[in-house]
């Protein structure tokens, strides 16, 4: 097993201390910080996503795997400067819409996007449309990811789309939506750019939207 494979395994198994220790050790051995993402962290989280999709992994396993990935990437991020600077996959402003407090699904999507190389601005839960518009403007984000778990709050996704249009930002951002009551048809009807049925689908969608 190569070092990269070892690190992948530690992340998939959710062993944060092992992931941290390995990352330190690999850096000492002279591996460049920029190599970790394409060779270990991104493939590991893609595998976590695959297992989640096949019902093999559930919320607890995905969360501890994401925590292990973060243990590694927290060490690496400050080192990704100069010659090691990594092209960011894009900046994503994410949050659970106003009136809704459901956090877990949004957190999983945020962590998986982060592990896929996106910069995440997580605004938390019960987020107003104004706050999202501000964050998009301040961070020059290219993507907005919205979550809602209640049929009564998913209507607030529409307000965000409208607020971004009113602020003249609609053509500068792509908007993706998700959450239990949300459907593809709903995403279309409110003028969003896409719907992710689960976290792995959201990562895939974010990649497509960022490339478009």
């Amino acid at each position: 097993m190569t070092r990269f494979e070892e690190l992948q395994q530690a992340i998939i198994d959710g062993k944060a201390p092992v992931a941290k220790e390995l990352t330190d050790k690999m850096l000492k051995e002279g591996i460049r910080p920029g190599e970790f993402f394409p060779k270990a962290i991104i493939p590991a989280m893609d595998e976590v996503g695959r297992r989640m999709r096949e019902c093999e992994f559930f919320i607890p396993e995905v969360l501890i795997a994401a925590r292990a990935a973060r243990a590694s990437s927290d060490i690496l991020r400050p080192l990704l400067v100069g010659a090691d600077a990594m092209a960011s996959a894009g900046t994503v402003v994410c949050g659970t819409v106003k009136g809704d407090l459901h956090d877990i699904g949004k957190n999983i999507v945020a962590m998986m996007l982060e592990s896929a190389g996106f910069k995440i601005i997580d605004l938390g839960v019960d987020v107003t449309a104004e706050k999202i518009v501000d964050a998009v403007r301040t961070n020059q984000a290219g993507l907005v990811a919205l979550s809602a778990l209640l049929t009564t709050t998913m209507v607030n996704m529409k307000s965000v789309v409208e607020a971004l249009s009113a602020a003249g930002l609609r053509d500068k951002v792509k908007i993706m939506v998700g959450g239990a009551p949300v459907t593809d048809a709903w995403a279309h009807s409110i003028g969003a750019d896409g719907y992710g049925k689960d976290a792995p689908a959201a990562v895939e969608l974010a990649r497509q939207l960022a490339a478009a």
Binding site: P60, K98, L101, T152
Partner: protein, 480 residues
């Protein structure tokens, strides 16, 4: 087809939006077109065999269909209770999100003269409280739901009067209990505050009516009271549960978990009570379980492990058709015992589905649904105990109430980690909402029915707003 079948008692778990498979019917004769929603929920094979989602079908010609659902038994209450005799007759109403139970009582003898149950007629507009709120936010929706439920309870009362053969004017008191959404919809209060964070309404108090104001055939001055709510979605059904278990009058610490369409939790003693609610019901009622159904004929209600094999008990002694809540909990407990299911919830050898008794199977995603439901309840109990500054060991008794709570096998509930208390501390308590409503009938003078002192001692905890809830919830998703 939805409207026709609903009138016959068929349930529409997702509210008739084509989001679940609960209303599937087998078309034996006649033609029913297929739409996208049905293609998404039913396999090509099922469609070819003539299975359809009733909520998605428009009828043009005569049809012969076979239903996937059977009559469900609704939990009533015949617990003996202590009372102060008074004159007249009273009606106790347990207004549940899914089911309605009414009992006519002789207030002098305490005898139950008649019982009538029904499915809540609002259920065709959504199975859970949130979809009911969504439908009720626009004024005309609110009025429609209000009129429906008032008419339905009125007609049940007429049936009680007819069954007991008593004169109409004899009923002096009606006590109704239900969760906050049922309270608001019955009383005609604005449900909009319940549609969004912080999910708190200002109109939680006692609501009083005269029978004729509601259009009910009650002559004279029959007094109708909808008992007050406790906070958030926790309503007077739980207040009634506290009365029935005497939780608020005891020195030692006790708990009540009411598992119906919603899951509500109370812990407390005579000084202080804490209550909370979680949306945990759909898994237990079968709505999101692949072969889930309510506890009715054909449902596997018990799964027992004997000599490393599973044995299933089917309600009504007919071939198995599906899995109800108690069977689901038993099946997962059995899987954990046999090593078929790991503590992470995963099938040990990447089984897609585990056959309990052909054709009934348990799938990987069914286990995931159960993990969400049991995680929420177990986390709720843990957090309320924490808030109280108590530990599981301090609890003298935990009462399990509600349709599902009453029938669940306590050992299985413990095996899956839904409850983590010694079995001798856990007691099935039946329909405590109905029992509490009956007790309230005998105490009309008690603070005028407002229960101000009890409500003052009871604090509602908004679990979702607590930062640590999410973490506890995730921890409680795994099996012990």
């Amino acid at each position: 087809m939805r409207d026709l079948l609903f009138a016959q008692g068929v349930e529409f778990p997702c509210g008739g939006h084509g989001r679940c498979r609960g209303c599937r019917v087998h078309v034996l004769e006649g033609h029913v077109p297929i739409n996208d929603a049905q293609r998404e929920r039913l396999s090509a094979e099922e469609l070819a065999q003539g299975w359809r989602l009733a909520c998605q079908c428009t009828l043009e010609d005569d049809l012969v269909i076979e239903l996937r659902q059977w009559d469900a038994a609704i939990l009533v209450d015949d617990t003996p209770f202590v009372f102060q005799p008074r004159t007249g007759l009273g009606v106790a109403v347990d207004l549940g999100t899914t089911t309605l139970v009414t009992q006519l009582l002789d207030l002098t003898t305490g005898r139950v003269l008649a019982v009538r149950t029904a499915l809540n007629s609002q259920a065709r507009f959504g199975a859970d409280v949130m979809s009911r709120v969504q439908f009720g936010v626009p004024k005309d929706g609110e009025k429609q739901l209000r009129d429906l439920i008032r008419q339905q309870i009125g007609s049940l009362i007429e049936q009680l009067i007819f069954a007991a053969q008593i004169p109409e004017g004899k009923i002096t008191d009606v006590v109704v209990v239900g969760n906050t959404v049922m309270h608001h919809l019955f009383c005609g209060l604005d449900v909009e505050p319940l549609s969004r964070y912080p999910f708190e309404s200002e109109n939680l108090g006692l609501q009083s009516f005269r029978g004729q104001d509601l259009g009910w055939k009650l002559t004279g001055d029959a007094h109708v009271r909808f008992l007050p709510c406790l906070g958030g979605f926790v309503g007077s059904d739980i207040l009634a549960g506290i009365l029935a278990t005497n939780l608020g009058e005891r020195n030692d610490l006790n708990g009540l978990v009411d598992l119906g369409t919603n899951g509500e939790i109370v812990i407390g003693n005579r000084q202080r009570l804490l209550c909370a609610s979680t949306a945990a019901g759909p898994a237990f009622e079968g709505a999101r379980i692949s072969m889930g159904m309510r506890a009715a004929t054909g449902a596997i209600s018990e799964v027992i492990v004997e000599d490393h094999t599973v044995n299933c008990r089917v309600l009504g002694n007919v071939p198995p058709q599906g899995l109800c809540g108690s069977g689901l909990v038993d099946a997962v407990a059995a899987g954990l015992e046999l090593g078929t299911i790991q503590s992470s919830g995963r099938f040990a050898d990447s089984l897609g589905a585990w056959t309990l008794a052909a054709p009934v199977v348990l799938t990987q995603s069914d286990i995931r649904e159960l993990q969400l439901a049991k995680g929420a309840i177990a986390a709720g109990i843990r957090m309320l105990l924490d808030r109280f500054g108590a530990s599981a060991g301090d609890l003298k008794k935990l009462y399990l109430a509600g349709a599902f709570g009453n029938y669940i096998n306590r050992a299985s509930a413990q095996r899956i980690g839904l409850i983590s208390f010694p079995l001798e501390k856990v007691e099935a308590a039946g329909n405590t909402a109905l029992l509490g409503a009956k007790l309230a009938l005998f105490r009309p003078e008690e603070e005028d029915g407002s229960y101000a002192s009890l409500r003052q001692r009871t604090e509602h905890v908004a679990l979702n707003a607590d930062q640590s809830f999410q973490e506890t919830f995730v921890e409680e998703m795994v099996f012990p």
